[in-house]
């Protein structure tokens, strides 16, 4: 009795999203394929980049929706709260401590896993106490997050100044978002981490629904609030580390995705929200990258446009008074 029309609407939305995603992938893979021997080479290259786009999309979408539920706020993203600048700071410290050769000689896998572990630990310590208390004081939560973010960025910049120019170039390469330097060696480990984190997130979708009611109600309904907060933060840390490692920090992308997801679904269940966020993000990335690579001939950066559009959307949300 409850949800039949709602369920039907949701099924339609998911069918539509799936179809658009399929079309985007098909165009991405097949448009303007060269003849002959180059074909399989181009296909391989495109598949690799497609995997990168999908991973970045899914992780960013899922991470932002989860983070907003945790924070009880629809404008915060892990990036605004300084999660990705924490990642950049880690890279800078590693380069400064080990030098370029040392940095480059750490096996990709172990470096990535180490980064992720440190991110989880620091994320839980820094943001756990802040968000765990119920974040009744949203203004203070945002302010603290923004200040932490700026502090991480300035620390990275400070260490960058002390570095020699070659080392600094290595750091810089990892601090701007671009699919141009997608690190293909990271794809397998990124895919495994993403699958594990998204799987865990989906398995606790019901608990996330309750978490979204705010601390008091979640505790009253018997949710083990502290534990769920820390698991969620840990998952968000993993899901932010993956795209930041793959392409670099993209600040506003997650905000657009989460806003669109809530706007389109109009349903509070995370079992629906999380997959939809992943699909919407993937569609946007693939379509955006198609336009830039194939139509505009690489004349710009995807991240620049995403940030531009994201900034406009942010303003729109502010002016519409959707921010609570």
């Amino acid at each position: 009795m409850q949800g039949r029309p709602v369920d039907k609407r949701l099924r339609l939305i998911f069918a539509g999203l799936g179809l658009v995603l399929m079309v985007a992938i098909a165009v991405w893979m097949l448009q303007g394929l060269p003849e002959g021997r180059a074909r399989s080479f181009v296909l391989g290259l495109r598949a690799e980049r497609l995997a990168g786009l999908l991973l970045v999309g899914v992780t960013t979408g899922v991470a932002t929706v989860m983070f907003q539920t945790l924070a009880g706020n629809r404008v915060l993203t892990p990036q605004i709260m300084g999660f990705d600048s924490l990642y950049i700071l880690l890279q800078t410290i590693l380069v400064a401590g080990l030098g370029i050769t040392g940095f480059a000689s750490i096996p990709t896998w172990s470096k990535f896993l180490l980064d992720t572990a440190v991110m989880i630990a620091l994320g839980c310590i820094l943001f756990g106490s802040l968000l765990g208390r119920g974040s009744r004081d949203i203004a203070r939560t945002i302010l603290t997050g923004v200040i932490l973010g700026v502090m991480f960025r300035s620390l990275s910049a400070f260490i960058g100044r002390v570095l020699d120019p070659n080392e600094f170039a290595v750091v810089q390469q990892s601090s701007f978002a671009s699919f141009g330097h997608l690190d293909a060696a990271l794809l397998p480990v990124a895919a495994i981490l993403t699958a594990a984190a998204v799987g865990l997130a989906l398995s606790m979708a019901g608990q996330l629904d309750v978490l979204g009611l705010g601390r008091d109600r979640a505790v009253a309904l018997g949710l083990r609030h502290r534990r769920v907060v820390f698991v969620t933060l840990g998952l968000v840390a993993v899901l932010v580390a993956v795209p930041t490692a793959l392409i670099g920090p993209v600040t506003f992308f997650g905000l657009i995705v989460a806003g669109l997801t809530h706007g389109i679904l109009r349903n509070p269940r995370h079992a629906m929200l999380l997959p939809a966020a992943g699909m919407i993000a993937a569609i946007m990335l693939i379509a955006g990258q198609l336009v830039f690579e194939r139509l505009l001939g690489q004349a710009s950066f995807l991240s620049v446009v995403i940030e531009f559009a994201g900034g406009l959307f942010f303003l729109y949300l502010l002016l519409k008074g959707r921010i609570r």
């Binding site: 629904d209 009611l213 008091d216 109600r217 009253a220």
Partner: protein, 252 residues
């Protein structure tokens, strides 16, 4: 029976509760009264484990709060706090349905849906069930939150100022519903009330608090007298009687 033993509580340097030792009787409607800042809400939130216990011991029907799984407690008591702002954009029915969560953990059965519909009906929310919470008035939203607690269907119900935002007729309807639960179904209700005549008219047991201490407790006829109330509120209060219940006149 809810037992509260030697409970003290501080927020920063401010001592909110001083060695509280009392009990809420089972199968009764207990009202907590007292001036602002007396510590009523803090006490109710401590019992409802919304605040962490700093010292002392609280047990609900023999379940020690410190030793019992929070999910198990959610099947013994429901608590309504004062903060009713929710970030998620929910429909009224979706909010009320969350009250069943401790019983089904995400997989509602037919019985759960039926109880949600009953709770909606009881609070005259059926018409509003498909509206979003931010599209209804504060009083209607308050009723939706109370309905969620009712849907939780627990032996104990703790309500922190449930009459906030409610008009006279809905306040009376809520008090009737609550006293119905107590008298017909043998459940136990504890509520913080500011409008003292609601306590006078409906409560079986009254606990008067001031400055973090219990000043008086007992049945309405013992607690609601001129001397106690005047001292409690530091204001001259007259007490009369109406239909064999105390009637407090505070329009000096």
């Amino acid at each position: 029976m809810i037992r509260i033993e030697d409970v003290s509580h501080s927020i920063g340097p401010a001592r909110i509760l001083h060695d509280i030792r009392t009990g809420f009787p089972k199968g009764r409607l207990t009202a907590l009264i007292g001036p602002n800042g007396a510590g009523k809400s803090t006490l109710v939130r401590l019992v409802g484990r919304l605040e962490n216990l700093q010292s002392g011991r609280i047990s609900v029907d023999g379940h020690d709060l410190a030793l019992t799984q929070t999910l198990e407690l959610a099947r013994v008591m429901a608590i309504l706090g004062q903060d009713t702002a929710i970030a998620s954009r929910l429909r009224v029915r979706e909010l009320v349905a969350f009250g069943r969560w401790p019983h089904h953990n995400g997989r509602p059965r037919a019985d759960d849906h039926a109880r949600v519909e009953t709770a909606l009906e009881n609070f005259a929310l059926t018409q509003l069930a498909d509206r979003f919470l931010d599209e209804i008035s504060g009083g209607q939203a308050q009723r939706a939150h109370i309905a969620m607690c009712f849907a939780q269907d627990t032996p104990w119900l703790l309500l922190d100022e449930p009459l906030n935002n409610l008009d006279m007729s809905h306040s009376r309807a809520l008090m009737q519903r609550v006293s119905d639960l107590v008298r017909r179904q043998g459940r136990s209700v504890v509520m913080v009330v500011h409008e003292i005549n609601y306590a006078a008219a409906w409560a079986d047991h009254i606990i008067a608090m001031k400055d973090g201490r219990i000043m008086a407790e007992g049945d309405p006829d013992t607690v609601l007298n001129q001397r106690t109330l005047s001292e409690l509120y530091d204001a001259d209060v007259q007490v009369s009687r109406h239909q064999d219940r105390p009637l407090v006149l505070h329009h000096a």
